[in-house]
C-alpha cells in the first residue's frame, strides 16, 4: 500500500480495521482533513458531520478493542447523497425548497449502513432534487470535477463521486433515476452500481420518479460496491465476507448493443471502448453484437415516464414556492405538468416492450457492455458539446446510455475504463439480468482488471 490509507478500498481496509492495525478514528480524521483542504473548491459536501463521525468512529474502535467486528464496513467512512435521510440531519436535496427540514428518522438504507458499522461522515451535494445530470443546478454551488475543476463531475450524485476520488470518504450512497449513480462514476473514475429495481428500499429518500428511482453504492472497486450493495439490500455482510474469488474471464459472454448506442459517440470514448473489448477478448471473453430494436425510442419514453412522476411529487411546492427552485429545475418540473395521461400510459406500455428486448438481448450472454457516457465530462454550464463535429445537447448525451436500464429495471454498473488524452475518466457500463445483480457484479469483477489501462 503506497497511497494514504483513506484512498484504499474497503476490501483492503477491512482486515486492517478488524485486526486493530488501523483505527476508524484515524481513517475518519484523514477524510475530514481532505474535506477541509479541498471542499471549498470542489463543493462535494453540503453537510459535514465531523463531530458525530469522530464519536461514531471511536465507539466502533472500542468495539474492535473489545473483540467485536460487525463486518467489512466496520469503521469505514461513508457519505450519503443529500437526498437520503439521516436522523437529526437536514436532507436538503440541494434545494432551498427544503430549507428547515431535519430528518426525523434514518432511511432504511441509512439504518442498515449504521448497523453494519459505517461511519456517516456527511451529506453530499447533487443536482437539485436529483433532477439533472451535471450537479451544477444546486443551491449549494456547482460541484466540480477533481480531474478538471472547470468541468462537471456528472450527476446527479456528483458530490458522491467527487468525495470518493478525493479521499473525502471511502464510499458513498447515491440514487439513480436515469443514470445518476453511473454517470458521475464514469465522469470521475469510480465504480457505480444501480441495482435491479426494487431491491434496495427507497423509503426515506426524496423521490424523483418513483417507478424509476434506485438507491445504490459508489465505490473504488466492484468488490466494494458489492459489499455495500449487500448491506443496502439488508444482508449481514459478516457472513458473506470475504467475497468469493472473481469468476474466470475466459468464456465470459458479452453482448454489445451498437445500434443507436454507438451512433453518437465521442472519438476518444469510442477508441477506449474498442480497446477495452479487445483486451477482454484477449483475456478470453467472447463478444458479439446484439440489437435492442426500440433503443432509438428510449429518450421519448423516459421523458414521458419520468416527468409526470416528478411533477406530481413537486406539485404543491411549485404552487407555493416556485422561486425557491433553481430556474432550470423549476422549468423542467413545470414541463412535467403538461404531459398528457394518455402519453404516460403509452410510455408504460413501451417500457414493457423495452424490458422484453433487453431480456432477449441478455438471453445468450452474461452481460451487455456499452460506454456509460458517450462523452467525457462536459464543461460546467455547457448546454451543448461538440461530438464528432456536431453540436449535441449535454442533457441528452449524459442520459443516452443509461436511462434504458432505469426504464427496464435491469441492474447496471459503471466501472472505470481509462482516461482521455486530457486525463478525463471514461466508464464502461455492464447491464445484467433482472433479479441477478450479484451475477452482474461477478461479471464486472471479472472484467475490472482488464479494462482500466
Amino acid at each position: 500500500m503506497t497511497a494514504p490509507l483513506h484512498f484504499h478500498t474497503i476490501t483492503e481496509l477491512a482486515p486492517l480495521i478488524a485486526a486493530g492495525h488501523v483505527s476508524s478514528e484515524a481513517l475518519t480524521r484523514a477524510c475530514l482533513e481532505e474535506i477541509e483542504a479541498h471542499d471549498r473548491t470542489l463543493n462535494a459536501f453540503i453537510t459535514v458531520l465531523g463531530a458525530s463521525a469522530i464519536t461514531q468512529a471511536r465507539e466502533l474502535d472500542a468495539e474492535i478493542a473489545a473483540g467485536t467486528c460487525r463486518g467489512p464496513l466496520h469503521g469505514i467512512p461513508v457519505s450519503l447523497k443529500d437526498l437520503i435521510d439521516q436522523q437529526g440531519v437536514p436532507t436538503t436535496a440541494a434545494s432551498r425548497v427544503r430549507e428547515g427540514h431535519v430528518a426525523a428518522a434514518d432511511a432504511p438504507v441509512t439504518a442498515r449502513l449504521r448497523a453494519a458499522g459505517a461511519v456517516l461522515i456527511g451529506k453530499t451535494n447533487l443536482h437539485e432534487f436529483a433532477f439533472g445530470t451535471t450537479s451544477d443546478d444546486t443551491a449549494f454551488g456547482a460541484v466540480r470535477n477533481p480531474h478538471d475543476p472547470s468541468r462537471s463531475p456528472g450527476g446527479s450524485s456528483g458530490g458522491s463521486a467527487v468525495a470518493i476520488v478525493t479521499g473525502m470518504s471511502v464510499a458513498s450512497i447515491g440514487t439513480d433515476t436515469g443514470g445518476s449513480i453511473r454517470i458521475p462514476s464514469a465522469a470521475c473514475g469510480t465504480v457505480g452500481l444501480k441495482p435491479a429495481w426494487g431491491e434496495v428500499p427507497c423509503e426515506g429518500v426524496v423521490p424523483l420518479s418513483r417507478s424509476l428511482d434506485h438507491v445504490g453504492p459508489l465505490a473504488r472497486s466492484v468488490a466494494d460496491a458489492w459489499l455495500i450493495y449487500l448491506v443496502l439490500r439488508g444482508e449481514a455482510t459478516a457472513a458473506r465476507w470475504p467475497l468469493p474469488a472473481p469468476r474466470a474471464i475466459k468464456g465470459l459472454r458479452l453482448g454489445v448493443p451498437r445500434h443507436y448506442f454507438h451512433d453518437v459517440l465521442d472519438d476518444e470514448v469510442r477508441a477506449r471502448f474498442a480497446a477495452c473489448l479487445a483486451w477482454l477478448r484477449q483475456a478470453g471473453a467472447e463478444t458479439a453484437d446484439v440489437t435492442i430494436r426500440h433503443a432509438p425510442g428510449v429518450a421519448p419514453v423516459y421523458l414521458h415516464a419520468s416527468l409526470p412522476e416528478a411533477a406530481a411529487y413537486h406539485a404543491d411546492s411549485l404552487m407555493s414556492a416556485p422561486e425557491r427552485y433553481t430556474k432550470n429545475v423549476r422549468l423542467r418540473l413545470e414541463m412535467g405538468r403538461y404531459v398528457l395521461a394518455e402519453d404516460y400510459v403509452r410510455a408504460q406500455a413501451a417500457r414493457a416492450v423495452l424490458r422484453s428486448e433487453v431480456d432477449a438481448a441478455l438471453a445468450g450472454c452474461d452481460a451487455l457492455v456499452l460506454p456509460t457516457l458517450p462523452i467525457p465530462a462536459p464543461p460546467i454550464g455547457a448546454s451543448t458539446v461538440d461530438v464528432a463535429g456536431t453540436p449535441q445537447a449535454v442533457r441528452s448525451m449524459m442520459l443516452r446510455m443509461t436511462q434504458l436500464f432505469n426504464l427496464t429495471g435491469h441492474p447496471a454498473v459503471s466501472i472505470p475504463m481509462g482516461e482521455t488524452a486530457a486525463g478525463l475518466p471514461c466508464g464502461l457500463q455492464l447491464a445484467g439480468r433482472l433479479n441477478d445483480t450479484e451475477g452482474l457484479l461477478a461479471t464486472a469483477a471479472a472484467c475490472e482488471p482488464f479494462v482500466n489501462a
Binding site: A288, M335, Y338, A360
Partner: protein, 54 residues
C-alpha cells in the same frame, strides 16, 4: 387530442402563467410526444438475428 392542439393550449397556459421560458421546452416535449406516438411499440420483439448470439 392532437399534439398540435395540445401544444397550442400548453403554450397559451404557459403565457397566462407568466412562464414564457417554458415554451421552448414544451416544443421539445411535443417533438418527443410525436416520437413516442409514432413508434411501433406494439410490434412483437423479433428473435435474435443469426450470428447475434455470442
Amino acid at each position: 387530442m392532437t399534439i398540435d392542439d395540445w401544444l397550442e393550449s400548453a403554450c397559451a397556459d404557459a403565457d397566462r402563467r407568466g412562464l414564457e421560458e417554458l415554451k421552448p421546452l414544451l416544443v421539445s416535449l411535443a417533438d418527443a410526444t410525436r416520437a413516442l406516438r409514432d413508434a411501433d411499440w406494439d410490434e412483437p420483439v423479433p428473435p435474435p438475428a443469426e450470428g447475434e448470439e455470442p
